[in-house]
Symmetry: C2
Subunit: 139 residues, 2 copies
């Protein structure tokens, strides 16, 4: 079982990761964040990126999306939804969704104390749509 610690000291690495992610509207993977942050901190290690992304997500500074093959991170931690393409795996924000898409909030379900609700739409992106693919490439 993974054990995520709360940060106790500031570090330039964690701050840079947060700053760079907040600038983006895309949903980069840890490796993609690593490449972005290396432009500012060329010696940062991939492990540091992974560790800090987990810490930031655990503290609610960012959001971790675990729907696809590899985790993706979102600097926008306000409530919104995502679509992922079943062919290419690309993830996009959904902003224009009616506020009352989900009718109600729950605090208990099946004996669980509910702390959140993850919604991901699954679809076919415009680019893959053009290609007219008839094989399933991702489930």
């Amino acid at each position: 079982m993974k054990n995520i610690k709360r940060p106790q000291r500031r570090s330039k690495q964690r701050q840079t990761i947060l700053d760079e992610l907040k600038k983006l509207t895309t949903h980069p993977t840890a490796v993609e964040m690593y490449e972005i942050v290396r432009e500012t901190l060329p010696n940062i290690s991939l492990g540091t990126v992974y560790r800090n992304l987990e810490m930031l997500a655990a503290n609610g500074n960012i959001v971790k999306l675990k729907f696809g093959t590899s985790a993706r991170f979102d600097g926008n931690s306000s409530r919104h939804y995502h679509v992922r393409c079943i062919h290419c795996g690309e993830v996009n924000d959904i902003d224009e969704l009616p506020e009352d898409f989900v009718k109600q909030d729950f605090d208990k379900l099946g004996g669980y104390k509910i702390v959140g609700c993850k919604v991901e739409f699954v679809g076919i992106c415009p680019t893959c749509s053009e290609k007219n693919i008839n094989e399933v490439s991702q489930v």
Copy 2:
């Protein structure tokens, strides 16, 4: 990019995997299914279990849940929801949810042709609740 083929012939292995999964109300991982099926077919290989679970999911016979660390499979392919414990990772069905939880269906969102919508509730299960854990162990 993974390429899932449609089955063209019957096999005892695939049929057994489907039968055994349909018997369960739990949401086993591929490795857990492997252990279950080995009681009937002791020589089945883990790769065969993975391959067939993917095929069955791609054909809609079963449902693949990719929210947690490892994929979990559900023999119940009718529409229902799940809760996962943020501490222990346990997944459970939600049956008592109002039918109209999601107000509307979409066929287009953000340029994507929508083919589905995945919802996962995140909470703390009764067992973990008792333990009064104050560290985040899974995000």
